[in-house]
Subunit: 327 residues, 2 copies
């Protein structure tokens, strides 16, 4: 992680503006490419199922979201190196866009995660149900799966409509125009942009690192937390957000972020399992469901909370030993 | 484990009959003392709750069961060193007695385990219920607890009656008389008993070890098993039984069995969690329960199945590296 692999920083060349500008232009280009692909492959309706087109489309949407996040995080971390009022405006719009785009994907992924878990929990159908456990689960898990599918597909359809509406809005076209400008020219602060990378960008990136480190050290110890209690999830989601900001700052500096990406994946799994557990609890409060359905949802909830715990341990393993302070 | 601490074997003195006789007489004495204490403190009715008397009484019952198990396992392992027909008869009766005595304890322990888990799962009452999860659990866990309490207290009361009936039976008095004889004189096979410990007892103990090692190596790998699937529990319960036989054989030879006792505790936890998970699944099939109750029982079931998994990992950790072949 301490080895810079970016040409400019590796050779110690380039001003802060050069390095940040190169990164932002590259991300703006990725955004526009993602957008073009997304328009080309269309946005399949949730009920159309997954085919090659759906895979292409969701890949395009993913790279669109990734580029939007990288631009908005960089504009936050390195705000003072850019024209600040422009940066603040674009950042707000990109946060709106990426959260709108994320919703549909999140509902689809959540449903897949829950149905996969139900399938795993109820065991393979060839195996005769052993005493008690699996038998009761098999009864309820089909109905629990149908209930979750109904609820999450409805949510996903709503998110799909919201995405289509957003992509057709003048607000979106203004964002796309701003990113198109960014792809050729980054509005920079003339003084800060002329500074050296290690005097201008590195201290700003270090601020992001310090915030992350503080949030990580404030996390409750894994052993202390109650697996089924979602009380601490918020602090973990905040660490996930700060890790992303930190990771993209290091990426902009041309550093190797493989370890940070792996730690981020653990926190993504943490978030996904936490949301899936909540979706299972919500489904269990549907009026007039059969006890067997509620039972299966309870098992599913506990299973996902255990995935939450496992993701926390994975993160702690990847995070320890605490990395040396930024170079 | 390889260091004998028994006086006779440590000095290499004593025949097979001396060593086995000393062990069996000591266990018979422990049995009679446990029986006397049990009669003295009485057998409290399940609804009388736990006080000092109940603790004394259950301690007495525990030592009574432990001595009965040690005698019956030793009579099986070292059958050829004793008068075989006598050994077979007494062993059958002791197995009957210890399984009868174990039932009441098992139901009480299972209820405690399940209520503790429910308490843990629904979180501490001071903490306001966070989004979804804990809220739904709190609703159902009180009712789930009441349902389990009703079902397991009923089972325990039946087991209590069965114990009282057994302790008052002529069958029991015959066992107690046989153990009283054993406390002063062990019926041995005159030829085998004169043999050396390492030529007679050690090879028989090694057979118990070989059986255990074969059963352990036949266990499915921990990673392969499905946590919610009770299908493999039987193989683990069999390992638990064989580990006990092995442990008592080593104990009779005067060896240190601390490691075996710790591994046995992990398997006890495995069995307890497996039975508790099954009890939760059974309770969830009670007709006309509320969905919230079924949901809490589902969470509880999954929690106990995770304890099953954890106990398997603990056992594997304690068991590896595979101990060297018996000395």
């Amino acid at each position: 992680m301490a080895l810079p692999n970016h040409d400019l920083t590796a050779r110690g060349e380039g001003s802060a503006g050069d390095v940040l500008g190169t990164y932002l232009r590259a991300q703006a280009t990725a955004f526009l490419r993602g957008l073009r692909l997304h328009e080309e492959w269309g946005s399949p309706r949730p009920e159309s199922g997954g085919g090659a087109d759906a895979a292409q489309s969701s890949g395009a949407a993913r790279s669109l979201r990734g580029a939007a996040r990288r631009i908005s995080c960089s504009l936050a971390t390195f705000r003072g190196v850019t024209e600040s009022s422009w940066a603040d405006g674009l950042r707000t719009e990109l946060v709106w866009l990426s959260s709108t785009l994320a919703d549909e994907h999140a509902y689809a992924a959540r449903l897949t995660r829950l149905l996969d878990a139900l399938h795993r929990l109820s065991g393979s159908p060839e195996v005769p149900a052993p005493r008690g456990a699996a038998g009761a689960l098999t009864v309820g898990s089909a109905r629990a799966g149908a209930l979750l599918e109904r609820q999450l597909t409805l949510a996903r359809t709503r998110a799909h409509s919201a995405t289509l509406q957003a992509l057709g809005s003048s607000r979106f076209h203004a964002v796309a125009d701003a990113v198109a400008v960014l792809a050729s020219e980054v509005p920079l602060d003339p003084v800060a942009a002329r500074g050296r990378v290690d005097e201008v960008l590195v201290p700003l990136a270090d601020v992001a690192h310090t915030r992350l480190a503080a949030a990580v050290s404030a996390l409750p110890h894994a052993g202390e937390s109650q697996p089924y209690n979602a009380e601490h999830d918020g602090s973990w989601h905040e660490v996930r957000r700060l890790l992303r900001v930190h990771r993209y700052a290091r990426e902009a500096l041309g550093e190797d972020v493989a370890r940070l990406a792996a730690a981020g994946e653990a926190l993504d799994r943490h978030r996904d399992a936490s949301e899936a557990a909540a979706a299972s609890a919500t489904a269990a409060r549907t009026p007039r469901i059969a006890p067997a359905t509620a039972y299966a949802l309870g098992v599913l909830h506990a299973d996902q909370r255990h995935e939450v715990e496992a993701a926390r341990f994975t993160f702690q393993d990847l995070w320890q030993p605490v990395p040396a302070a930024a170079p």
